[in-house]
């Protein structure tokens, strides 16, 4: 929370990206903008808030930069919204920008879940709290199913994807293999299925794309 006061004029050595005509955003505004997202994003949609901030509200990134960061954040492990905040903070103001963006994004949620943790550890015996949580849990099951359906729908029609989805699900839920084992089996298969096509044959297929 205790951000060091940012100097009114930026020192020339501290510029992450040497773009001469674009004012470099200060760390505090990066922190505050992501804090705002962390505060209002009840019920998901964080990536949409981040996109609006970075491309429309503050125009800190170009569309190409944003798309590249988005793809990277989704490919690498970790929470997608946190990865996106971190990579964009890094592109805007280097490591300090990345740290400011992530801390801003997560601090409201961390305070919320800590309060929930304390309440849950004390109030697990109230029958009313238990039934409320049971109802919320049933609703949350519907939510996670909907997220899986939305993301999965295009893949459920692809010949290359369906066997991989099924095999992963069966290995994890029915054979009860550990996640490391499942990934060690499935990732090489997936990479082989989606290996980049060599240049020559790509030229031949150019009309299709």
């Amino acid at each position: 929370m205790n951000q060091p006061p940012t100097p009114p004029m930026r020192p020339p050595s501290d510029v992450a990206l040497p773009v001469p005509h674009k004012p470099v955003p200060n760390i505090r505004s990066i922190f505050l903008e992501f804090l705002l997202i962390g505060l209002v994003s009840f019920g998901g949609g964080i990536m949409a808030y981040e996109r609006r901030l970075l491309l429309e509200k503050r125009k800190w990134l170009s569309n190409d930069e944003f798309m590249a960061i988005l793809a990277m954040g989704q490919t690498m492990p970790g929470l997608n919204s946190v990865n996106l905040a971190m990579l964009s903070g890094d592109r805007i103001r280097g490591l300090a920008g990345a740290v400011a963006a992530v801390i801003g994004l997560i601090s409201p949620g961390v305070c919320f879940v800590l309060a929930a943790a304390v309440a849950y550890s004390q109030g697990a015996d109230y029958p009313l709290a238990n039934v409320l949580l049971a109802g919320v849990s049933a609703g949350a099951t519907g939510l996670i199913a909907s997220v899986t359906l939305r993301i999965g729908l295009p893949h459920f029609k692809r010949v290359k994807s369906v066997p991989v989805i099924l095999a992963t699900f069966v290995c994890m839920s029915f054979f009860k293999l550990s996640l490391v084992t499942v990934l060690l089996i499935m990732v090489p298969i997936g990479l082989w299925l989606h290996r980049p096509i060599p240049r020559e044959s790509e030229m031949g297929l150019e009309k299709k794309e």
């Binding site: 997202i37 962390g38 505060l39 994003s41 019920g43 998901g44 590249a68 989704q74 490919t75 690498m76 492990p77 970790g78 929470l79 990865n83 971190m86 890094d90 997560i106 919320f112 879940v113 800590l114 943790a117 304390v118 849950y120 009313l128 039934v131 409320l132 949580l133 049971a134 109802g135 919320v136 849990s137 049933a138 609703g139 949350a140 099951t141 519907g142 939510l143 996670i144 909907s146 997220v147 899986t148 993301i151 999965g152 893949h155 994807s161 991989v164 989805i165 095999a167 992963t168 699900f169 994890m172 839920s173 550990s178 996640l179 499942v182 990934l183 499935m186 990732v187 997936g190 990479l191």
Partner: protein
Amino acid sequence: MSVLLQLALTFGMLSVLAVGGGTAVLPEMQNVLALRFGLDRLEFVHIYSMGQLSPGPNMLMVVIFGYKIEGFLGAAVVLLSFLLPSSVLCLSVGRLWHRIGERPWRRAVQNALEPIAIGLMCSGVYAVAQGAVNGFLSAALALTTLAIIMLTRINTMLLILGAGIVGGGLMYVFGWR
């Protein structure tokens, strides 16, 4: 001390394995928390659900596991070990990539990981449903929520809270499950 270390190792491992976002590691998280820390399925689902009510990234609910197992120190250890490893990895690879530019292999890696992540998410749905759905009423609530989210643009936090109030009320008054 050893509990904290075990928490750090568990969540650090989950962090770097979380391909396609945190939902993919839910089934593994449930297994590991049950095996190593004795957390039952119902507690897991309750804590997962509280994350859905919170602002910001919903997977921050991992902090509650940390608190439940080892107090505030446990919460801090879980938060750091769940966020730091993947962040360091993503930042270093992101910088490297920015320098060398787009390569066909990044696309290939993403295409390869997507269906795996979806398979893991299906396992996540299965794991959560096993704890949350234990009767006619909870099944109906889950399906209704699913249908409403797919068909409308309602705020999901409010919807889930509604499911808690309506469903919880029916459970309380009639004893349905």
